[in-house]
Amino acid sequence: MSTTTIDRRPSNTTTVDRLAFEPADFAVLRDAGQESRATQAPDTLRFEYEVSNFQRTVGRQREVVRSAIVKKIVASDAPDEYIQTVIDTLLSSGRPGRLDDAIDILAETGRVLPQFILETLAQQQGTEADEDYWYVLIRAVGKSKLPSARMLIQLLWSRSPEAAVEALRDMGDDDSIKRLRAIATSEPSEFIRQMAAEFIEECSE
């Protein structure tokens, strides 16, 4: 790899002058940054392509690709980066079913999902992400039926009450239905109350 000399100024310039970079220097720094990313990013880029490609698959092929994506996340030393890639890639797509695709993948990732959620919560601290982002995570938690699922749904309630109600329905156990009953009577939003009431009715059929 060739080395790049940034400082091309005459040697008689002062220290202050040396710190004043010229546009050409920024170009060198930018190129160096890209070069550095190129050595780290291929796996993530390839993964992004795989996730994007997953949306175009059908039938058995889709199951195989979904399974491969899940395996890659679970086996990775940096699952957070992969989970983030899944969410970013699918949510930025305009295809119908993008949220469901993300939920189906994330629900199968097991214990890495709660870890990701807790770390995301700790990092974000007050910044508001798109509700779809949390919708996908909460629904995936409910579908996974992990031991920590109910606690996480409760914790993330304010991020997307709609997702939390659907997740409780997906859990479908007695405690979740009891919680749905409480929501159906006490939740301020009519939309959420109706949704909870509908799910209770469905569970009792």
Partner: protein, 201 residues
């Protein structure tokens, strides 16, 4: 049972035929801007917005299973919204092949091609004005659809199926592809001619 559960009139109180579009979450059906951004959206390289033209409960059940074949379970809840043919006004709906496992659903697939973002917004406003709401087909309904389509050995319901009953009623693929091409060429030519005139006015 499918006749009632997947009745277009029961679900949206409109008469068939109509176009149906998948809605990712109920909350996306809020205001015109959200509908435009989250429901009536497409990939930049797509020709238009993917919809299915359904005329009967049978069509609707087949499309529902075809769409859920992309999920981890065929009986997952599915939310669909209907667009009556009359609500499209000047929006072009061209038949294109769908990409599902169900050949019948693929045959019903159309792309809604909008002239500009304003046309999408107008459609969203029209649907809200008509009091249109998305309909959720719950697990029980989807189980009915699954039973119905399995009975016909639908490829979406039974991946190991060797012949689906609906295939016998499908038009010859070559004719359909040729017609699709011709319709697109005519539609684009007309849009080029009249679209410009309309905007100049």
């Amino acid at each position: 049972m499918v006749e009632q559960t997947f009745s277009i009139n029961n679900a949206w109180r409109i008469d068939p035929p109509c176009y149906v579009r998948k809605v990712d979450r109920a909350g996306h059906w809020a205001d015109a801007a959200t509908i435009q951004d989250k429901v009536l959206c497409s990939e930049p390289d797509d020709d238009g917005i993917s919809v299915y033209l359904v005329s009967s409960p049978s069509d609707l059940a087949r499309v529902a299973i075809a769409l859920n074949a992309n999920r981890s379970s065929l009986t997952e809840d599915l939310i669909l919204v209907a667009i009556a043919t009359g609500e499209l006004a000047a929006i072009d709906a061209s038949r294109t092949n769908g990409e599902t496992l169900c050949k019948w659903a693929n045959h019903l697939h159309h792309d809604l091609v909008f002239a500009d973002a304003a046309a999408v917004s107008r459609l969203a406003t029209t649907l809200l004005g008509a009091g249109r709401r998305p309909h959720r087909f719950k697990k029980k309904a989807m189980q009915e659809a699954l039973d119905y389509t399995s009975n016909d050995h639908c490829y979406a319901a039974e991946p190991n199926s060797v012949h689906c009953v609906c295939e016998d009623d499908l038009p010859a693929p070559q004719t359909a592809a040729w017609l699709t091409w011709l319709r697109r060429v005519v539609a684009r030519s007309l849009a080029g001619l009249f679209g410009k005139t309309a905007s100049e006015k």
